[in-house]
Symmetry: D2
Subunit: 392 residues, 4 copies
């Protein structure tokens, strides 16, 4: 059963790219129509309307033709004007990395860091504003995937709004898997994508933009225009009677259309509930097996991914190799500062169903054992099932 290198995985429990829903796969296989074909124009406008409904936001979202890293770079380049002071909240690797982009466009970037197993506390943001009332933009990662922790976005958003600043949010791996949307959190730019909790395929960015963010970007002479990095170019492209700046990724649009249909048909609250339950069951199992969560407290552990601390003396590479080769299970590693210190399992979209928590636990436990680190699989499974059964 030990897999050869190129054997297909049995279960993909990564934090993204994640497995796509079968209906998304079929939508990707639709005929590619000309982008100005009336049939495609109808789909294209429709997918924006569905995204708007899913995002529960007042304005029409923008879809960019590249995975959310494009959206994040475009957001930094567009929203942050040359004279702006940016407060970058970094509770993890992605938060930290964003400072790099912010610095490219801002006059000054103030960093507010916490240890990467903790979350930003709203009072820290409040304090930052008191120290520097000239902060114009606050950037924050809602769910910092490399540490699988979640920041209190709503509370932070209220503070930012109270100070008249703009909030730029990376909600890539939280949106669709938990109760978060741009309006309720007072986000100005809210970046997400199809390939995390929506179970769509990577290759697009979904971007919610507040009215004041549109104004700020339009007033920013340095905001990308006539560029692949531009948000402004796409403002009206969703309308069937408007042109595109360039060819949209037709197949990806069809795939997103199906992903949004699934999300809206199942009902967002129901989708969030199964993400939450899967994650809670998994965390209960991890702890019961004698392993440790990366997150300093469960209150900040993400419902869409879980980071498990790699014990001293254990090689995370050996662990990941064992789980893939023995059981065909693909998981994610840490990144940069968290590399080697944790492994991560996603609970997103297709795999946000409780029994996948058991799949993840037994595979992870088995892999730990295989490399010589004893864990109690039976107790772990029982603990996970107890959480699941309590919820049903």
């Amino acid at each position: 059963m030990v897999a050869e290198a190129a054997d297909d995985p049995v279960f993909t429990l990564s934090c993204g790219p994640v497995e796509i829903y079968p209906a998304v796969a079929r939508a990707l296989a639709k005929p590619v129509h000309y982008h100005y074909d009336p049939a495609f124009l109808a789909v294209y406008q429709g997918v924006h309307e569905k995204a708007q409904k899913a995002l529960r936001t007042r304005t029409m979202p923008v879809i960019l033709q590249g995975e959310p890293v494009l959206g994040l770079e475009a957001a930094a380049a567009s929203l942050i004007a040359p004279g702006d002071v940016v407060l970058n909240l970094a509770s993890g690797v992605y938060g930290k990395l964003f400072a790099f982009w912010a610095a490219r466009y801002a006059r000054e970037v103030i960093e507010l860091d916490v240890p990467f197993n903790e979350a930003i506390r709203p009072e820290q943001v409040e304090a930052a504003f008191r120290a520097r009332p000239d902060i114009r933009v606050v950037s924050v990662v809602h769910h910092d995937t490399p540490s699988a922790t979640v920041n209190p976005l709503k509370e932070i958003g209220a503070i930012v709004a109270a100070h008249g600043a703009y909030m730029l949010v990376d909600a890539v791996s939280s949106f669709g898997g938990m109760d978060v949307d741009p309006d309720a959190t007072r986000s100005d730019l809210f970046i997400t994508g199809p390939n995390k909790c929506l179970g769509g395929s990577p290759g697009l960015t979904i971007l919610a933009v507040s009215e004041r963010a549109w104004d700020k970007m339009k007033a920013n002479p340095a905001a990308p225009r006539a560029s692949f990095l531009s948000i402004l170019d796409w403002e009206n492209a969703w309308r069937a009677d408007q042109g595109y700046p360039f060819t949209p990724s037709v197949a990806e649009i069809n795939g997103l259309d199906a992903a949004l249909d699934l999300y809206l048909a199942e009902g967002p609250e129901k989708v969030w509930a199964r993400h939450d339950l899967t994650a809670r069951a998994f965390r209960a199992g991890v702890k019961a097996m004698g392993l440790h969560l990366w997150a300093a407290s469960e209150a900040i552990a993400s419902p869409t991914a879980t980071a498990v601390r790699v014990p001293e003396g254990v090689s995370d590479a050996a662990l990941r190799s064992a789980i893939r080769q023995r059981y065909g299970v693909m998981i994610s590693s840490g990144m940069r500062e968290t590399a080697g210190k944790l492994v991560r399992l996603g609970h997103m979209g297709v795999t946000a169903k409780p029994l996948y928590a058991v799949v993840g636990l037994t595979a992870l436990g088995g892999a730990f054992r295989a490399i010589g680190h004893e864990v109690d699989l039976g107790v772990g499974t029982e603990a996970a099932m107890a959480v699941i059964d309590a919820a049903l």
Copy 2:
């Protein structure tokens, strides 16, 4: 039979996005694996090797995660250093547009324009170098799709090379449909994509880079790095043991893999021949029907698309509307300078089969008639069939 707005087209004879091969559609529907899954790493390295084989080039191509407009912008930003003088060859709308990007990065852009129904003549390039020996980069669109004409790339490449300059080529809608490759034309950056003659889906750029282009880009401090626009970031990403700058579009990679398999299995020469035959048959029919080609001479007419002049007093919008609503055939319009003056039919990938020339002719002829412009359909069909039958 008159179609309602959102009815699916019966035949897509556009110039891109074009219809995809069924095998590409199925590949797009493959399970999405984690990008570091060994199974995907093997596919990812393999698709580069297949692209290299298809491109017949010495170096490993780069795949960028956006449609070729990304590749063109990235190429301008990377290859053109702040002190460079660029000679931009413009025989059409796309050539003209490139000057805009070139100007963003160059010290100076020299424009060499010809009327948009003609091709650049090699002696013009030679003369330009004589006038300005400091030209460092020459940019050229091989097949300027909005006018469906082809520039003599090999001859131009020889001149550019003789002067030690760099040639940046937009071969988006020619590669895969005719005999052109980066090495034989001495191209330094050669940009193409899956969704024209390869019958793949839009969403990726394929980029061939000469060794000296790599050197020049690396030496360019202004070349994008740590950006969605970067070429440099992806230099080694094709190797299974290297990381990605960000998540590749997994489904699109699978689709490209299938498109390259089809191209290599059928045999490039055979693929080119059917593009050429379809276009020749179509042109013969157009002329026999009493219509006029846009191209000043057939010698420069593209084998992958045909532009038909819209006669005085005829509305191209009415014509396109008639062909779509009456026959379900989707074609392309002119753009900018050519808008209103011509309509275009593609002969790319799936539709580069001779009988599609007849489909296009009868639909086009019928639409002309429907809006009051008489043509001789029977003679047109006979002329097309005569070309086809002579080749079989």
Copy 3:
């Protein structure tokens, strides 16, 4: 361009199996659920309800798990009791063949034949009843595909009903492509399938059964029971709370579900109109090219397929080989009595769109020429387009 043996066809213009709609292809690719899974039970009951709606019939149709040849054999075996006298109407090869099955189950089979390029005349049926008032079952092929002619089903049905007999109808290649349904024609067993005018895939039979036919079959001790050939076994299988006699072909059921969705969404009248228009255009072209229809009169020519007479001295095999190898077009031959005398092109489902008539004409004309039989392609195309344009 001359195709190698195994190259995929460019256009399939056969009389079945025919090309399937892309949405059917995607439905065939759905996950296969357990046949008693609640999700599949809902699909399974739903597909019957959609079939009933499409058939415009009072009773719930039966779906058998094999292509319509299964349905025809099962119908003969079930409806024809050992003491029955059967009047078999044979206007073509399929009609003739049915006598063979009828004879297996009947006491006596009376054959009413007409030349295979003509249709049964209602007065012939009336006369047959006068001569043999003991006729209990009349069997008739609505559209006898091997000669592409249509019998006057409604008129025949009225006569059969007036005499209290049962009418067993092969409507395999007519239903879905023209105005025919079991109740309006007073059919008792009405057999059709997904892979002709519905553009579904072969592998199932759809069977409409009148209430009196159910009674007759149940009273027939020789009707198959506990057999793959049984109709009776499946009477109630459509109900989600009933069992199946054996495993249904899950993928084919999903495919049929999509085919029925398409048919009902487009609207039967609209579907019939495009079948009719395509066939009329094709016939006009055939005649204008100097070729001859097989049908003795156009009044009986099918709207879903056209048989073209092969002139004296012309090899139909050479003709079909030429059309496939030169143009990639697959057509059908004659069968048995009509073999060698005609070739047939289908206008069913996907290809029941007017421009396919032009594709068929030019390919057919070109193939005739290639084997030395001159035709006037231009005039043929003009004639077809004139029919099309008159209808738009």
Copy 4:
């Protein structure tokens, strides 16, 4: 998380129809070609050659156009001549049912039954021959799915051969999941299908026929001919230069082609090993949880499905309902004599991977608890993992 009726299952762990491989799903979505198209003729002959290779048999297999129930009925009707004495071996429901068909065609059927949790013992067969040397045909179900037990086919086959009789084998749910093939077991008719261990879709029968079985069927005047039930009609249909008795199910053939490709590419021995390991792990877990296997001894428990005894006082319907509604897991019930006494989980094709044993165990255990029957899930999981880890 409690599912609504029509929600898709999360895991299908039934005994068939089973989940299909993604590559099979994509193959089902291929364009449907005309059955006499050279491209399809090549596929059609190829699928037979692959089936022959998979079956490791000397003669070319037959593919029938219906699920294996068609094959079983056709086999009985074809191989059993009116004067034959048949020994029917019944170790389960399917074995018992076959006697019904055998009786339809034989002069006499001798039944050799064992309790449905046991297997036929070779010496019983030997004894039967001693008692009735006139036995001409022995029918046996290799893996009687409703009780998930396996008969010693090789030993039985040797006895049957020694007595000059013919052996007719239902290997539907064993072939492809364990080491069994027609030649090594001296089977004369060996019936299997795509939708069990091969992970293909239901809708076809694969039939291996010994040379002497061909002779016997041809000599049998009662063997079906010109019928959907005929085997004889299809003898030569695999040859590209021969006709078909009727239209094959093109999409299903494409699906089978892919399933055979997967099986041969992975390697039969490797496929069998993962079926065996998954079943052993599952059985270990079942026993450790305090539940009981249906099989009287593990030596006869199938590697492709497991039947778990439903304890006294427990409702199997409530159990199956709980597992589907709580966890989205679809399993199979008993049938007829075993109904209510057991539930069954399949380990076939896609789900014949060790971790699916854990999925099945935890879901089953959770469902037992939910309806009030306590089991020890943790111990069960540990036991399953111990088996898995010992094998890696």
